[in-house]
Symmetry: C2
Subunit: 306 residues, 2 copies
Amino acid sequence: MDVRALETLRAVRSQGGVTAAAGVLHLTPSAVSQQLAGLTRDAGVALTERVGRGVRLTAAGEALADAAVDVAVALERARTACAVFQDGPTGTVRVAAFQSGAWLLFPRLLTRVAARGGIELRCSDEDVAQRAFAALTDSHDLVVAHRPEDGEPGWGEGVRVVPLLREPLDVALSVDHRWADRASLTPADLADEDWISVRTGFPLARALADVGLRSDTTPRVVQRINDFHVVEALVAAGHGIALLPRFACGGHPGVRLVPLAGARAGRQVDVLVRPDVAERRAVAVVLAELVAVAAEIGGGPGLRPG
Amino acid sequence: MDVRALETLRAVRSQGGVTAAAGVLHLTPSAVSQQLAGLTRDAGVALTERVGRGVRLTAAGEALADAAVDVAVALERARTACAVFQDGPTGTVRVAAFQSGAWLLFPRLLTRVAARGGIELRCSDEDVAQRAFAALTDSHDLVVAHRPEDGEPGWGEGVRVVPLLREPLDVALSVDHRWADRASLTPADLADEDWISVRTGFPLARALADVGLRSDTTPRVVQRINDFHVVEALVAAGHGIALLPRFACGGHPGVRLVPLAGARAGRQVDVLVRPDVAERRAVAVVLAELVAVAAEIGGGPGLRPG
DNA sequence: GCTGTCGTTGTAGCGTCACTGCATGGACGT
DNA sequence: ACGTCCATGCAGTGACGCTACAACGACAGC
């Protein structure tokens, strides 16, 4: 029973298909298929079953994929076991984050990690839908993801979740808006406004719908923009209002953030990491620094990154 | 980091050398050496160091060998994970035991396992010194070993120990001996007798020395025979007396076993199994049957195998 | 001190195995 | 009904690990 094949099986599960798994493994789909065939032969039971034009893991496949994670963890522990006998944690760590999270965290994180020395950070921002965050753990060591705070915390199977911070969502108004000077706003106040939201399937889309539920209305979404800086520009120009995270936004001079009263709106920012990757000392160090950065930001709501 | 190489490192530790490890792995010493070299390159630290004309594991090597056991366990769990989705436990299990243990346990064990079906037993008797028992776990799934009951229970590193039974040691006399009809004997009674013991380094050699200590004498050993049936034949012919285990001996018509009073003498019978091998369902079943057989024997001291 | 032997380490040759590329078959959407 | 996408099977090729052989170092005996 080959470890590479087990890793492949795990990738097929998290990526949801042979071709996608081949992508993150830097292989051809044919190679993945052959590894699965060999693994199935070793296991003696079917591990995948065809569903439509794709494949899905059987119950046995799921169990084996779970076991594959344990194998990977044990292997990584083995690497760590002899790594302590040499120098400190070293190597490159690949970190992915959604844009506003990247804007909020990466500058401080890079500073702190550079100060420690020995670890090279490879940061990248990824604009993916809610369900796609877990799959990023195949190509990145640490994945900073966000979700509605009241949503289920289920990110996916075989992925460890480390909470970073809860970020309140404020109402972003143009400074020329009639309520720009209000200390707070209720859902009822916002019933008849033009809204700028994000694309459906992305974490903050549901947060706005939840706010609408409080006033028994459906928010009138006139634009769907994912990049918050673009949203800010639109809000400043008076093209609508938006729900924006407090820490990551608010720098635009033409935009005012007003807290929401009578409704609890927020997003939860988590770090996703595969258990085996988490065993790497360098990854553990970066994760700890990430938590520290989040504590700094969450502790003082007015803080800016840098 | 290859799992084969990790397994090789573990074998080098338990076998105490490259050539011996190559033997149990069915490889040439050159292949083992190359695997070690590759593993050392991956680890970044020296895993072995030369001592005399052999090698020894460094601290890093020991740590990595420990981790290798965990990897093997995880891999075996993976196999078991999908094995539950097919049929019951199956396969062949290799069991080794010292001679008198084999005589005592194998017949009943074979009967019980055959009654379950699906598992093929490959039994063998091994006459090795105390320290060599642990190394047998590389070539056998289960190893039945024995040791003086008051000795340290340390069998070796990375091996799981399951106690089977404690077996008292009685004094074996010829039926013509002047004390053959005594109900019990004290160490002082035996101070001036000719003894038949086992070869030095074997478990029961120390038990006799301990009995001698109780009477402040050194037992006069006139023969050293490892096979208890040969010992019985010599005792019956009046060539000396011996310390023999109660359950495994006593069938000879010319020999009488007399309990020892005033001194507690016994041997402890254990099963040695590698943690990864213990994960195999078939091995676990056989181990459970072995424990059951031992309970039968230990429960009624007069029982004979069959 | 020299020699014989044992055990580990390096090198050339070879076999095996896994991956690439391409072709095939099935399933969904237009 | 056709095109597209995805998974799978098959031949070719490359790399990797093993065997066989040779060399070096270390211990024991004369």
